[in-house]
């Protein structure tokens, strides 16, 4: 906590303080927005204008005159790009693949995080701090670096995992078919366990002890208390973290892009929607189509967030 000066603290504690409607009138009318001005200008420049510009771009198409060798012109084509995106089965396939994969991976990740949080809930306090810190290390490692680390562990040459498997007489590959998904899923799970465990731990700690003290005196075993009392009382945080994870999976980009470096035949350029957008923009050079795809993805994300928001709000109230 910060070291507040004593009078300030006293004032903070005073019950009369509230968001000050009396600050209104002429004083606040322009002063509030004035303090917000740097942010508002920046917001305009980095949110509103780009989204608007991307939208106007997406209403155009690049057309080349002559037999495809002449100079290209950008012409207005209305919603043609959007119609193509909506009918683009590869784009929707990448979205479906990402969501399905995300749902499976998040279930495993949250399951393990929940298990660890429950286990830590029953261990001595000193051990808890140590385990928490250690399990959080993967979270603090930059995603690019953790992808590189696992890439070397998955690589056909020099991987200690393959060494160990070979010694055990097994021949495995980390890419190809379902293994690609398992490898990517393992990476994301590894990154996310500690962070989700902290969140679940925090909401477990917030539960009043009396909730299960009685059950314990009645002789209920720990696993029974966990299953019938602890878990039902923290479904809110599970749904919430699951929802945010799923939305972030929809934007999956860096990890599969980097993995593609050693497994290009397993991870296509349209493996995830963001990879498809990146490819369309910078490899194919079709900015207009990529802009339309970005906006469709943004809308799908927004709808998903909204649906989840409504659902969880109902659940938690």
């Amino acid at each position: 906590m910060s070291t507040l000066t004593r009078p300030a603290k006293a004032a903070t504690d005073s019950p009369a303080r509230r968001p000050s409607p009396r600050r209104g009138g002429r004083r606040g009318a322009y002063k509030g927005p004035l303090f917000m001005l740097p942010f508002l200008l920046g917001f305009l420049a980095t949110y509103v204008v780009p989204i608007g510009y991307a939208f106007s771009q997406s209403l155009h198409e690049k057309k080349s005159s002559g037999l495809g060798f002449g100079p290209t012109r950008v012409v207005y084509t209305g919603f043609a790009n959007f119609a193509s995106v909506l009918a683009d089965s590869a784009f929707w396939a990448s979205m479906g693949r990402t969501l399905l994969f995300g749902a499976a991976q998040i279930t495993v990740m949250l399951g393990i995080a929940l298990l660890l949080a429950l286990l830590l809930d029953g261990v001595a306090a000193r051990a808890v701090r140590f385990f928490r810190a250690a399990l959080l290390i993967p979270y603090v490692i930059p995603a690019v670096v953790s992808t590189l680390m696992w890439l070397f562990l998955y690589s056909p040459t020099g991987s200690p995992l393959l060494d160990l498997a070979e010694r055990a007489g097994a021949e495995i590959s980390f890419f190809g078919g379902v293994n690609t998904y398992l490898s990517l899923g393992n990476l994301l799970t590894w990154q996310g366990i500690g962070f989700n465990m902290i969140l679940i731990s925090a909401s477990l700690q917030a539960l009043p002890r009396e909730l299960y003290e009685a059950a314990r005196l009645d002789g209920a075993r720990e696993w029974r208390i966990a299953w019938s009392i602890k878990i039902p009382n923290i479904t809110g945080i599970l749904v919430l973290t699951g929802m945010f994870s799923l939305i972030s999976r929809l934007q999956l980009f860096g990890e599969p892009l980097i993995m593609r470096q050693i497994a290009p035949e397993s991870i296509n350029t349209d493996f995830t929607p963001m990879m498809e957008i990146y490819d369309k923009a910078f490899k194919v050079g079709d900015y207009q189509y990529a802009a339309a795809e970005s906006l469709v993805l943004a809308v799908v994300t927004g709808i998903l967030a909204h649906v989840f928001y409504r659902a969880t709000n109902r659940k938690m109230s």
Partner: protein
């Protein structure tokens, strides 16, 4: 989990303790092993990397690797590290100041459309920044800003979630009575903000700074979209470009591995210094 846990009562059975500890240790190893692999690998040369067991040391070549990495391409890696420090520090400082000011304005003044502003900010903080990268690229390339440090810094400055946190901290730590008192003493609004509100919001400021610093240090896709000259890369993008080269030109794996380890060090130092704010920061960041 076990059916033998007899006796009931509060004390867990010996078997339950063993099982609990065992499971925790398994996941502990799972969490730490890849980082351990990275540390071990950074001490190996190219031959040992492929011919010796990955989870244990061989002859120590860490010095050679560090020398290689510092000299390769005129020390471009050190430049990348410097760029990352620059982007993270400037980006986080700028966004913290802008967020605190906006959060203060939103919290302490009543004005038309305040609720709408707040709703937009909450909505925007839910929008994944990945989605903005390409629209931003379109605009910035139109005005010739791509491939400059501003093309990454300007978007870093604008952090709706930071504004949200700024408002929360202003609500809870800046007493309106104190502002009134200062005004009666003749202080102007800017002075009230700078010398009374800002110091009181210090904890919030550090939390916003820390979250943003880590975000920027880890960021990959915005620089990937915006920058194409090696000299402006942050370390994440630099490592990726090395990995790409490794597929086509010389085998750069020792450099990639040693560089990866080095790229964590400044971040680790930063978080160690601010560890007081670390946990509350995570819990706050999770709201995003």
């Amino acid at each position: 989990m076990s059916s033998v846990a007899s006796g009931g009562g509060v004390r867990p059975s010996r078997r339950a303790v063993v099982l609990t500890t065992g499971l925790l240790v398994v996941f502990l190893l799972y969490s730490l092993a890849p980082t351990w692999f990275l540390i071990v690998s950074a001490t190996k040369n190219q031959t040992d990397l492929y011919s010796t067991f990955g989870l244990w040391f061989s002859t120590n070549h860490l010095g050679d690797n560090l020398h290689d990495i510092a000299t390769y391409h005129d020390g471009v890696f050190l430049r990348w590290l410097g760029n990352s420090v620059l982007y993270s520090t400037l980006g986080a400082a700028g966004s913290t100041l802008i967020s605190l000011a906006a959060g203060y304005g939103l919290s302490k003044f009543d004005f038309r459309g305040r609720g709408a502003f707040f709703a937009v900010i909450v909505g925007a903080s839910l929008l994944p920044s990945t989605l903005l990268a390409f629209p931003l690229y379109l605009v910035f390339s139109e005005i010739g800003l791509t491939n400059t440090i501003w093309s990454v810094l300007i978007p870093y400055f604008i952090n709706p979630f930071g504004v949200y946190l700024g408002k929360v901290y202003a609500d809870s730590s800046v007493p309106t009575e104190l502002m009134e008192a200062a005004r009666i003493d003749g202080a102007g609004d800017l002075r009230v903000f700078a010398s009374i509100a800002l110091p009181l919001m210090r904890t919030g400021g550090i939390t916003i700074f820390m979250l943003e610093f880590i975000n920027i240090w880890n960021n990959f896709f915005l620089p990937l979209f915006m920058l194409n000259g090696e000299r402006t890369f942050p370390v994440t993008l630099g490592l990726y470009s090395w990995l790409q080269q490794a597929q086509t030109a010389r085998d750069m794996n020792t450099l990639v591995l040693t560089g990866s380890l080095l790229s964590i060090v400044p971040l680790a130092i930063f978080m160690f210094t601010l560890q007081k704010y670390w946990r509350s920061g995570i819990l706050m960041g999770s709201l995003k």
